[in-house]
């Protein structure tokens, strides 16, 4: 397979890069100074049969069109919002992602964000480090155990979050495209009703045309001044401008965010707030999971080029 051209869209994980270099003929899109088409002309674009993309740069229509020999897009992510799935389907291009291996880490981070916000762990760590413990009684935080949790999207990640929150005695409810027969949790067919009923609202669904800005002013107001929003989905799930003004005006109690509309840009107004926790899109960023995701990408590529079944096919 060493002659098979694989295009990696951006730096994602050193181990993945090394593996791709070992097994395939790897092209790195970020080494291109000119336009993509120029790059591909000089680098034998027509030998590229696979693209490895991620949440930053996937495979849009333009890229797909410039790779006439493209057979498979293997995403180093579970989210597919950066891939033009319709185009892939049209052209018979396979698509694979990395589900399951990252479910635990993302769910763990969601809980970490909840505790960070509600119990002020991050804020108090900063407080202690600048020597402020000696001066004042640190403000009271809020109890997590027993609170009502609402999950938007009860897929693999949403379910894993629910299981963890249950161990903290939380009541779980959810909003999803359809009611899930396996779930014992209360289902809301309307996201406003979900937001009204819970204190902690967690975004865990896929980003599609329907879910863009699903968290808007109305939902935020329904969640209210004692509510907190946790986003481990995609930045575009949330109307970021509305979120910022709600936090500044006290209409929302707090937020834990791992994703933003224009990463790596984070709204400046959030940087000084003590009731938010800001993460740089690290939901699956552990050594163990990054390696597991990389292995899965490689396995999918090898399977495809050996004419075997993909391990985690999307298309």
């Amino acid at each position: 397979m060493k002659s098979i051209g694989v295009l990696m869209t951006c730096p994602m994980h050193k181990y993945l890069e090394q593996q791709l270099e070992t097994h395939f003929n790897l092209f790195k899109l970020w080494h291109c100074n000119s336009s993509i088409t120029e790059f591909l002309k000089t680098h034998q674009g027509n030998t590229i049969r696979a693209v490895v993309g991620n949440t930053e740069i996937g495979a849009d229509a333009e890229l797909i069109a410039s790779l006439p020999s493209l057979e498979i897009v293997a995403s180093y992510s579970v989210g597919l919002d950066k891939i033009d799935l319709r185009k892939c389907e049209e052209k018979g291009i396979r698509v694979a992602n990395t589900p399951d291996v990252l479910t635990d880490d993302v769910a763990d981070l969601a809980v970490g964000l909840i505790l960070g916000v509600l119990r002020g762990i991050c804020a108090s760590d900063a407080y202690v480090r600048i020597g402020k413990w000696k001066d004042a009684d640190f403000g009271l935080a809020t109890k997590f155990s027993g609170k009502s949790v609402g999950i938007v999207g009860l897929g693999r990640i949403g379910t894993a979050i629910a299981k963890r929150a249950e161990a903290f005695g939380c009541s779980i409810s959810y909003f999803s495209r359809s009611q899930k027969s396996f779930a014992n949790y209360k289902f809301y067919s309307n996201i406003i009703d979900l937001a009204t009923s819970c204190q902690i609202l967690i975004v865990a669904c896929a980003l599609t045309e329907e879910t863009r800005h699903i968290i808007n002013r109305e939902v935020i107001d329904a969640l209210g001044p004692k509510g907190i929003l946790i986003n481990i989905g995609r930045g575009a799930h949330v109307d970021e401008t509305e979120l910022v003004s709600a936090l500044l005006e006290g209409r929302l109690g707090g937020a834990g965010l791992d994703v933003y509309e224009n990463e790596p840009e984070v709204p400046e107004e959030l940087l000084g707030l003590g009731n938010v926790v800001l993460q740089p899109h690290v939901g699956s960023d552990t050594v163990e999971t990054s390696d597991a995701m990389a292995d899965l990408v490689i396995s999918n590529l090898k399977a495809h080029f050996s004419k075997k079944s993909l391990l985690t096919p999307v298309i």
Partner: protein, 332 residues
Amino acid sequence: MMAVSTDCHKAQQDFPKVLILKPISFLAHVGERHVASNKFTFLKAYESSLPLHQFLSTHSPSIKAILSSVGTPITADILQLLPEVGVVVTTSVGLNQVDLPECRRRGIKVANAGSVFSDDVADFAAGLLIDVLRKVSASDGYVRKGLWATKGDYPLGSKLGGKRIGIVGLGSIGFAVAKRLEAFGCSISYNSRKRKPHVSYPFYESVCELAANCDVLVICCELTDQTRHMINKEVLSALGKEGVIVNIGRGAIINEKEMVQCLVQGEIAGAGLDVFENEPDVPVELFAMDNVVLSPHIAVFTPESFLDLMDLVMGNLEAFFSNKPLLSEYGD
């Protein structure tokens, strides 16, 4: 109306007294009107200009109970001045500040905070652990300094799922920690004064053996003569270079100097600490470390816990003054 209130006031003056030596923060947070009783009144030593010994001697005939908090040692010396005391009620779970042998000798009952804080403390322990492993506070700071845009991605963290958790002290708090971490796919084992009969988690005779067989140590035990500096260089070496320690017990359970040295030298991978040997002093070496999460002894501090604590404290005192069993009497 005046006469009635004077009578009320006079009656209150005759009520037995519950002594408070130093200000108790939870009282300030719940508001004094929530702690009124028709069986006793609080007597605040810190509001008097008299030297303590004199104050105590003056009021000793009416002082029947003491309400103590973490920062107020109830020593044999103090108890000696208070021959009428029948109960010490504390706002903490830990009782290292109370001279228990002296209380036992005098027949003074002791009531602590029971399990009102268990959920909050366990939540906090879980939060500290996730933070250390996933670098939540460190990368939050990274984002706030604008470094994500300029320096790129933050270094990878470590997965919580599959980690072997060693609970030191499987009491109410230890159990609550175990229950939560199991939901993250962790396995649990423990060390305690004695093996717990109906518990399926593996038990280790020594804390060193526990450390050698787990990836994370969570300190949930009381501070006693036996547990003081129980976590030392030997235990931390057994825990190993990938190991993490979380302390929501008392600072002195860990030999702080040795722990800091282990962290500085990379002998353990990280620490989440809510308590320290000399609060509010924190070893300065820790401030520069991004594999350490520090909090100012706040694991119990939520408004919900304080209300529960208030109910428990008042309930214990009311029970004592009604000759009923205490709600959360401490006994071995």
